[in-house]
């Protein structure tokens, strides 16, 4: 008999049972794991759905609507405080300015993310130069027709996005420069880059924010002390730049020396070598790492709470202390809402990075 005769008939593919057997019950070990996983899902998912959807209170004007036995999430609490969660204490009459900033950001960002959209170079300048200026003027105000809104009034998702976007936009270029500096052959630049990176990686972000917010005014006369949110922005940007530098350096080290040598042999200058040959390859390698840092940064923005700035999580916690909306399930509802918002942004970023990876690696897919 030949080996081919020994094989059984091919498994039926496409049927549910066949799929189950192949993927979930292919061995005793896998069967046990499947059963355990199913049991854990059974333990957690139905209660969560019951709490969040089926038993939840969806309408109501006061806390009384959410009181009573067996009631789930108190969504009226979220509806009532929704403006606080999104805009913080931004004056109600000026909220249209925040909305315009959100809308403009969306309009400028979407064509940037679609690879086939035209005029990328124009779009980049629009998104990274024009848009921040417009956003700053609109949000801070103090221009004709725009009354000033001090940053102490900003809050909620607005602050989360301002901190995260600033951190992301500043940390990538600064991180690339630092990574190149750390691999530079010039000793002074290399030392400075190493000192900068290791200093910022060595201190916790909480410490940075606390120093920036509370200790800085001790060293400066009052008139000089910059705005509290601005201090946090600078702290977060420098902090994430150090992490970004190490991610980019990992990509640079993955480029074979032959690439550098070939580029130099072709007569390219240092910046041409880096810009045209090395960085395009290196950055493609480290897209997962870069996006990982972005996501970490996005979630780290909640730490601005310790310096008295309310991001969305801080705003949720603050609103929970309002006795007019204190209900037994209030904390769970608030945190669930904050969790959903964070998940939407972080999942969106990670999905986009997957898409870019596939697209950039189309030529070398395996």
């Amino acid at each position: 008999m030949s080996a081919i005769d020994m094989m059984g008939p091919p498994q039926k593919s496409g049927s549910v049972l066949g799929w189950l057997r192949r993927n979930l019950f292919s061995s005793i070990g896998n069967t046990v794991l499947t059963v355990i996983a199913a049991y854990l899902l059974w333990l957690t998912v139905p209660p969560l759905l019951n709490f969040a959807i089926f038993d939840a209170v969806w309408t109501g004007d006061t806390r009384e609507a959410c009181l009573g036995e067996g009631k789930g999430a108190c969504w009226p609490l979220v509806w009532a405080n929704f403006d606080q969660f999104i805009y913080g204490r931004y004056p109600a009459s000026e909220i249209w300015r925040v909305n315009i900033v959100f809308a403009l950001g969306f309009i400028a960002l979407v064509p940037m993310l679609i690879p086939s959209a035209p005029a990328k170079r124009f779009n980049v300048i629009l998104l990274l130069v024009v848009y921040p200026l417009i956003a700053l003027v609109l949000l801070a105000g103090d221009r004709p027709g725009l009354p000033p809104v001090p940053t102490s009034e900003w809050g909620g998702l607005l602050v989360t996005l301002v901190v995260a976007v600033t951190g992301i936009v500043v940390s990538l270029p600064l991180g690339i420069v630092l990574a190149l500096g750390r691999r530079s052959s010039m000793p002074a630049i290399r030392m400075l880059s190493i000192i900068f990176i290791e200093f910022w990686r060595g201190v916790p972000l909480v410490t940075v924010l606390f120093m920036a917010s509370v200790m800085l005014p001790l060293f400066l006369p009052e008139g000089l002390s910059p705005d509290n949110l601005l201090r946090c922005l600078v702290g977060v940007a420098l902090f994430s730049s150090a992490y970004m530098a190490e991610v980019v350096r990992g990509g640079l080290q993955a480029i074979p020396a032959g690439q550098y040598e070939a580029a130099r042999a072709a007569g390219l200058s240092y910046w041409q070598t880096m810009g045209l040959v090395v960085l395009p390859q290196a950055l493609r390698h480290v897209i997962p790492g870069i996006v990982n840092t972005f996501i970490g940064l996005f979630k780290d923005t909640t730490l601005v709470l310790i310096v008295g700035i309310f991001d969305i999580l801080g705003q949720v916690r603050a609103q929970l202390s309002d006795p007019n909306w204190t209900v037994p399930q209030g904390a769970l509802t608030g945190y669930l809402f904050a969790g959903i918002v964070f998940w939407i942004f972080c999942f969106g970023m990670s999905q986009y990075s997957n898409f870019m990876e596939r697209r950039l690696n189309a030529g070398r897919g395996r």
Partner: protein, 369 residues
């Protein structure tokens, strides 16, 4: 530049450069707020450390508003409502000071502070006054360089038990399991109380207050302890608030009061006498409703308080109508109490120790004369 990635990088660099050149200008002009720029442009800004008599008031007047440090959310003391407006006893006290200075209780900006950074924020001048349910103790008063302006709320640690347990006073808690939050003085006070009376007890400590309260709510402990004002707020988070009672015993003294930096006696006087004015107004029956009629009063005590006789406002650098402005803005102490924590609010706290001395409490303000 045919490579799109290179173009992207260049764009990012240009963008970062644009941000860099823009921020130093705008940081001063836009982000730090117009009023403070006016201060720096005017020069002659004193250092916080060198703030002598009257400097704090001067600085606040030039800035145009008061910086007030409050908690990051404590029901009844300082919490933002659904329109984002801060409310609570601590908040109203700051509005009273703003009213005394500017005649407008809204000229105040609240800075939410955590328990950890509240003292640093006051020391560094980030806030002018700390009105953040801070217990007045000797060490804080003497070692940190602060002055307490008085007591705005007499708090103290107390117990909550289930009504059906039949427990009506703290001595019956012998052998009970008590839930509390770890790492605060509540644990210490608890141990002192039971050891001092030779009673057995078990303590179940949790890192987060929400965990402690839900453990109690699920019946893992017989009692729950924290400051009395907090007990009423926590009770609202229970499945059945009405099935739980707060025991009458108070096992620790927690006099909460506003705090100012040492070194500016005039500012400390303003803080102290604003509080006294609120209490004296209640004692004399002056409310936000009858303030206009009270201005015509013949009672010499009322006339002095409202500035019709004497110049008590001027002696602390304020206008003659300072108390009128205060009462118009926030009412008297009793009104503040009832509006934020009183029996008609969800918290439902009785006046108790915080009643005036004439009503059996210990709220006793020195007279304004």
């Amino acid at each position: 530049m045919r490579n799109p990635v290179a173009a992207l990088l260049l764009g990012i660099l240009i963008g970062a450069g644009g941000l860099y050149f823009m921020l130093p200008y705008d940081a001063a002009a836009v982000l730090s707020g117009r009023a403070e720029v006016a201060v720096s442009a005017g020069g002659a800004v004193p250092d916080v450390d060198r703030a002598g008599a009257g400097e704090t008031l001067q600085r606040i007047k030039r800035r145009g508003f008061l910086h007030c440090g409050v908690s990051q959310g404590l029901a009844g003391f300082s919490s933002p409502d659904e329109r984002g407006r801060w409310s609570g006893i601590d908040v109203d006290y700051c509005r009273a000071i703003a009213a005394a200075i500017f005649g407008d209780g809204e000229k105040v900006r609240f800075r939410p502070l955590s328990a950890k950074d509240r003292f640093t924020a006051l020391q560094s001048g980030e806030v002018d006054i700390l009105s953040r349910n801070t217990t007045w103790t000797m060490s804080r008063d003497t070692q940190l360089g602060f002055d307490f302006a008085g007591v705005i709320y007499y708090d103290g640690q107390a117990f909550m038990v289930r009504k059906d347990s039949g427990i009506t006073n703290a001595r019956q808690l012998a052998g009970a399991t008590i839930c509390t939050q770890t790492g605060t003085t509540t644990e210490l006070n608890l141990a002192d109380y039971f050891r001092g009376r030779g009673l057995e007890y078990r303590v179940l400590s949790f890192e987060k207050n929400d965990e402690a309260i839900s453990a109690y709510d699920q019946g893992r402990c017989d009692g729950y302890t924290t400051d009395a004002s907090g007990l009423y707020a926590e009770r609202l988070k229970m499945q059945r608030p009405e099935d739980n009672i707060v025991l009458p015993e108070i096992i620790s003294k927690e006099p909460l009061g506003p705090v100012v930096r040492q070194g500016d006696p005039q500012w400390a006087d303003i803080a102290r006498w604003t509080l006294s004015a609120l209490l004296n107004a209640e004692e004399l029956g002056i409310t936000s409703e009858n303030i206009e009629e009270m201005r015509e009063s013949e009672n010499p005590l009322v006339r002095r308080l409202l500035g019709a006789e004497g110049s008590y406002g001027a002696s602390v650098g304020l206008g003659p109508d300072w108390v009128i402005d205060i009462v118009r803005a926030v009412g008297n102490y009793g009104e503040i109490f009832e509006r934020n924590v009183g029996v008609d609010t969800p918290l439902g706290i009785e006046r108790g120790l915080n009643a005036l001395w004439t009503d059996g409490g210990v709220m006793y303000a020195p007279p304004i004369r």
